[in-house]
Symmetry: C2
Subunit: 418 residues, 2 copies
């Protein structure tokens, strides 16, 4: 196989390689730093097999996520992950970065959904870990070494994925809340009432809504509140899901967890406009840098935090920044503890960057959070690895790297600085 | 910490250690082979923290699965796994063996549900991988090295688990079918109709039902058929789930996928007796060796197979055994491709064992299945590892073992023969 030949040659000649999929990384994980040879998955774009009974898809690493989802859709199946870059990102890159995205709350992460992998090691050796089975407890579960290791331990060439049934219907509720405590109460009640149909719980603070209002000309359909929750359900029977969602919102209003709320119960014009707002809201969340251009310069962070500390960090950073920031705002996938914290300033200023970092990463660490929720370490965050991780864990990572790629040819300067 | 001190001492003095949890392994994974020192998790039985909003549980490795489930139940949460040995198995052992069980179809495997681990390495070094976050993409995902490696790479001492919302209601359908093709058609249709509420699809062949009839005095509530399916739904609204299940069974009857079917729609006496039958059926599935005593000697296999080959193996083995076997029968978690294939003979006979093995493992391999679906390799299947695995993968396993446990003190003779 070609990748094996390329890596064998590069390894023998000590040539560094940068594996590249759709090149959608925002931490510089898929771009060469110095003189690495870019090996792209672009031509590895074939579906190997697709079983519509078991829902098992086997494909090459260069398949584009959205193409796979479209093909599966015809069989009432779907990919267990969805993300903003789906139109260009490759499944091999998704696996290598353990991509999270919008379906994680409901369908879990890739460590749970990837059944098998074919991987080429740095020395060109092909590892056949391409199991298509949901249960296989025979020996070490090696595939996980390559899920989320950002192409530094091996080159993923084929992927077997367990694909869930595509939901037939989606419904939305948009809620206005007074405090972050109310947000947590509503979250807990929502998990109880909506349970199996809950597919997303997104939180938006009023400052984020201001940005949306100003730059996307979108208005909250329910008036202004300090916090908003967008709750999405996905299921197989529209009338059942609507009934559940309506009674949940009624209960939350009665208990004063929420101050206002609207549910989409009819396939009306309102639904269309509301859904498209939601879509635009999600797009804005995905394409922050472009959308926020008029905001000045925006520092965008992607953290996971325990729920009790989730919004505390936004409050704290707002105070810490004072008048140095135009705005400090936060929104994100509350259901996964994933916070997109944004700090906008008039124009880029390295002093402000130094003021923010590493302070903010330290605070995340102290709050038992993660400084990279979905996007990996890549090149840009490599210098913080030793700050945030247990030193014994870092040593084990380094020894795995040394053992699997002794010449260090695979994606150098990523994850580890040297 | 004590485990660290014990391992440090044992490592320095080259003393072999057998980590032991509830000692419920059926492949000899948790018993010493020669003179290993048994280190038990029994006294490590404390809950460290439990957050009823996020559903994150952190506990010590010696907590008993059922105890955890009972504690969670009071908060409307549950463990993402359930298995026959829940009354005695320890969560540390579940993690070390990547235990599957009854909830896997719905909630996925432990690689998806375990958020973090604390692990002691062979040299006594403590690895703090105890993340409590659903999304954390910072460096290699080391915890997966210890999930399913059967205590040979490290000693799991603490576990963080993502716990799902406990369903409020369960419903059952019991279906009679003519052919295995009908079984697959029904399975596919069930995934489509029941989607988010589907929690188990179990298949039972008529030969298995004969055994149940003879030894447990249970009768099929719908008459005799070549195949039976037991479909379980779990959800948050009883009337919604019943409606979905009823219309699914009506549709399957109308399309002639099934010949007969009964659904539990009322909390009546029937339900109680049916549920207890189901429970007894599940118990019989769990406690095969005892239940089948009167059957003579029973060879019990735990395979995963691609669905198109799932029942082919039973047919084939029935022919292969001919009159040498009393019965060859198969049942299992169809939803996960997990087949419990049983061969009963009058009394144990080593010639028959040699006739069956390794032939049966070879066939499973040729059919792209797994010879150990849920139970691991342990001691008993170690000799087959090189037969069933890619040689490059076995070499990588061995090099991981050598690097993490250079003196080979952790659970020797397990997974690898030497």
């Amino acid at each position: 196989m070609e990748v094996s030949k390329i890596l064998t040659y590069c390894n023998e000649n000590r040539l560094a390689v940068c594996p590249q999929g759709g090149n959608t990384s925002i931490v510089g994980g898929s771009v060469p730093v110095l003189d690495e040879i870019v090996v792209s998955t672009e031509l590895m774009n074939q579906i190997v097999s697709l079983d519509d009974v078991s829902g098992v898809l086997v494909c090459e690493a260069g398949c584009i996520l959205e193409d796979l989802d479209n093909k599966l859709s015809k069989l009432d199946l779907m990919m267990p992950l969805d993300l903003g870059a789906k139109g260009s990102c490759h499944i091999g890159g998704n696996v290598s970065t353990n991509a999270g995205g919008l379906r994680l709350l409901r369908y879990g992460n890739l460590h749970g959904n990837i059944l098998g992998l074919e991987v080429v090691k740095a020395n060109g050796e092909i590892l056949d870990l391409l199991s298509m089975l949901k249960k296989d407890n025979t020996g070490y579960h090696l595939k996980h070494l390559f899920i989320g290791s950002e192409g530094t331990l091996g080159f993923v060439t084929k992927v077997a994925v367990q694909c869930p049934t595509k939901p037939k219907t989606q419904n939305l509720a948009f809620l206005g809340l007074e405090t972050y405590e109310n947000v947590l109460e509503t979250f807990k009640a929502g998990k109880g009432c909506l349970s199996e149909i809950l597919s997303a719980i997104e939180v938006i603070d009023n400052e984020s809504m201001d940005v949306v209002r100003e730059h996307l000309n979108l208005r909250s359909p329910i008036g202004e509140y300090p916090f908003y929750l967008l709750i999405e359900t996905s299921g197989s029977r529209d009338e059942h899901d609507q009934e559940k969602l309506n009674s949940f919102v009624e209960m939350a209003l009665a208990k004063r967890f929420i101050l206002n709320g609207t549910v989409v119960t009819e396939p009306s014009k309102f639904k269309v406009s509301f859904k498209s707002s939601e879509k635009r809201y999600l797009e804005h969340q995905r394409k922050i840098p472009e959308t926020f251009k008029r905001e000045g310069y925006v520092f965008c962070y992607d953290f996971t935090l325990p729920l009790q500390n989730y919004y505390k960090l936004v409050h704290e950073m707002r105070q810490y920044m004072g008048s140095q920031a135009r705005r400090v705002f936060g929104f994100g996938h509350l259901g996964d503890g994933n916070l997109h914290l944004q700090i906008s300033i008039k124009e880029f200023n390295p002093d402000i960057l130094d003021y923010i970092e590493p302070h903010i990463f330290n605070r995340v660490k102290e709050m038992k959070g993660s400084i990279s929720s979905e996007h990996g370490i890549g090149f840009l965050k490599a210098k913080y690895l030793s700050m945030i991780k247990d030193p014994n864990a870092v040593r084990l990572m380094q020894s795995l790297k040394a053992s699997l790629d002794p010449n260090g040819i695979l994606n150098p300067y990523k994850i580890f600085r040297s």
